[in-house]
């Protein structure tokens, strides 16, 4: 059920994306996500997505394996796509059959949302595929540093984040194991009926959460046993460096951001249509 690469999983490799500073990568993700969400035109969204895919391929990231791992999400994405098409009633009608109406507006909206979510996942995959969870947490810690002035608990937040990230694959593994346990005792998950598929989810999700609560308690104890505390300044085992690659990367996405801002404000592209 969950083969391929799970969302949020790290895959070791050695392309330029691996060398970049995590702070840099997080900033890149953030800017690109904002750009994609703000962009109202399908054409420019796809263009932006194209750049993301280009990054993906030039860094030799396993595109197909990521797609395979996205199967479940793609499934829900397609459902939202279809809902959007059929439940938008304003706009120019392009197809009508008794009560079913499809409008141009609905179709374009559906496409836009589909691309948006798809590319947002892709952008974040770039970060999580090439950055270890501890590095991501470290990056956030550095980014949030200024908020220390307002007594924001940055260190605790970073710890929480790194634990949460660490738990995503654990949750999926847990899910797989519970499915195995139920399968071996006669539960059927490969039923072609859609309703049955949906109904089979609660009985595996509940034990998954219970199980992971118990797991979390054990981790907390294990951390305490090794005297984890936030009171002292933490040192890090691996030093993360910032190099020329980072500079180029910053220039690269700042340039793209500027181009988009230019299009958005000065050219005021007709944003709702192509």
């Amino acid at each position: 059920m969950f083969d391929g690469i799970l969302l949020g999983q790290y895959v070791s490799g050695n392309s330029f994306l691996y060398i970049l500073n995590p702070v840099n990568k997080i900033l890149f993700c953030f800017t690109f996500m904002v750009l994609i969400v703000c962009c109202q035109s399908i054409f420019w969204t796809v263009n932006l997505g194209f750049i993301v895919l280009l990054l993906f391929f030039s860094a030799k990231l396993p595109f197909l394996a990521v797609l395979k791992g996205m199967k479940t999400i793609l499934f829900f994405l397609i459902i939202t796509f279809i809902m959007h098409i059929f439940f938008t009633s304003q706009g120019q009608v392009i197809f009508q059959y008794s009560k079913i109406i499809i409008t141009l507006e609905g179709l374009l909206n559906a496409l836009l949302i589909f691309f948006r979510i798809f590319f947002i996942i892709m952008i974040n995959s770039i970060l999580t595929l090439t950055t270890q969870p501890t590095e991501i947490a470290w990056g956030f810690q550095k980014l949030l540093y200024p908020f220390k002035i307002f007594k924001f608990p940055v260190d605790e937040f970073a710890l929480m984040l790194s634990l949460a990230l660490r738990f995503i694959p654990v949750l999926f593994q847990e899910l797989g194991k519970i499915i195995d346990a139920q399968k071996s005792r006669g539960a059927e998950f490969d039923s072609p009926s859609f309703i049955k598929k949906i109904l089979s989810f609660p009985p595996i999700l509940i034990p998954m959460f219970i199980n992971s609560f118990f797991r979390a308690e054990e981790i907390a104890m294990a951390m305490e046993a090794r005297c984890y505390s936030n009171s002292q300044n933490r040192t890090h085992f691996t030093k993360i460096h910032t190099g020329f690659e980072d500079l180029f990367f910053v220039i690269f996405y700042t340039f793209i951001t500027l181009v988009y801002l230019y299009l958005y404000y000065f050219k005021s592209y007709d944003l709702s249509v192509f």
């Binding site: 895959v11 346990a181 139920q182 005792r185 006669g186 034990p207």
Partner: protein, 278 residues
């Protein structure tokens, strides 16, 4: 009559992804009906993978597997197969999912179409067999049990639907000595009932007490398989490391040898001579 037949079976985890791992590499294996069959091997040698293939929790791309009357290459729905092949997982935490012990125990029988009354009788029977106090535990939350108690619940939840083949993955792990003793007795009782038992274990005392046949897995391949004493005789020091013992253990084996006839006697003596280089 064979209960399980493996023919040149290969298995790869995460095929065609960056995490590809070849776990089984051409396994040939035969397990007869009514046997107690042990699978041994170092950690990571593919034991758990192998037994998951029997239950079709994993599917092998190459090779053929036959389990009872089912052929894995042609089987459509594994439902009937799983009814007859019960599997107790390596870690009971991975197997338990209900919030009450009694619900956990009745899950299998209910899914496989037993009536409630019939299931209850079977559950109580299997609790006696596995040494679990049903009345005392039925309303407990299985997540809060101790490791050994969880294992007992896991065993009962499988025995409750009376499968023909029962697979145990490291059943002695986390059990105290008296529980291991009752596990041993349980194995014999199940054998008396005509069940086939397949178990993964490294507890050499446990194995030598109740084993009919044994196989040794290494690097995804079966390197030895056959009668317990004969197979153990052929092990070198290196292979005995799997059990955490060394050659002196051979002496314990010698006590167990039974001779069928004159030829058998001669052959076995020859084996022993080889072993001691005399």
């Amino acid at each position: 009559m064979n209960a399980v037949t493996f023919n040149n079976v290969e298995h790869i985890y995460n095929e065609k992804s960056p995490f590809e791992i070849k776990s089984l590499n051409g396994v040939d294996l035969q397990i007869k009906k009514g046997e107690i069959f042990f699978i041994c091997g170092n950690t990571g040698s593919g034991k758990s993978t192998l037994i998951k293939l029997i239950n079709r929790l994993l599917i092998a791309k190459t090779g053929s597997i036959k389990v009872l009357e089912f052929d894995m290459n042609t089987i459509k729905k594994p439902f009937e197969l799983r009814k007859k092949v019960g599997m107790i997982f390596q870690y009971p935490d991975n197997q338990i999912f209900e919030t009450r012990v009694k619900k956990e125990l009745i899950y299998g029988p209910e899914k496989f179409g037993m009536s409630k009354r019939e299931a209850l009788v079977k559950i109580k029977e299997s609790c006696v067999l596995a040494g679990l106090d049903y009345e005392g535990f039925k309303n407990r939350n299985p997540f809060e049990l101790s490791g050994g108690e969880k294992r007992k619940v896991a065993i009962c939840s499988i025995l409750a639907y009376d499968p023909e083949i029962i697979i145990f993955d490291e059943p002695t792990a986390g059990l105290d000595n008296s529980s291991i003793l009752s596990l041993k007795k349980m194995f014999f009782k199940l054998k008396e009932k005509g069940k086939t038992i397949i178990a993964v274990s490294h507890n050499i005392d446990f194995i030598s007490e109740c084993c009919d046949k044994i196989c040794l897995l290494s690097g995804g391949k079966v390197i030895f398989s056959g009668d317990f004493v004969d197979t153990m005789m052929r092990f070198t020091n290196k292979e005995l490391e799997v059990f955490g013992v060394e050659k002196p253990f051979i002496y314990r084996l010698l006590e167990k040898i039974k001779f069928k006839d004159k030829d058998d006697f001669k052959e076995k003596i020859k084996n022993i001579e080889n072993l001691f280089n005399v």
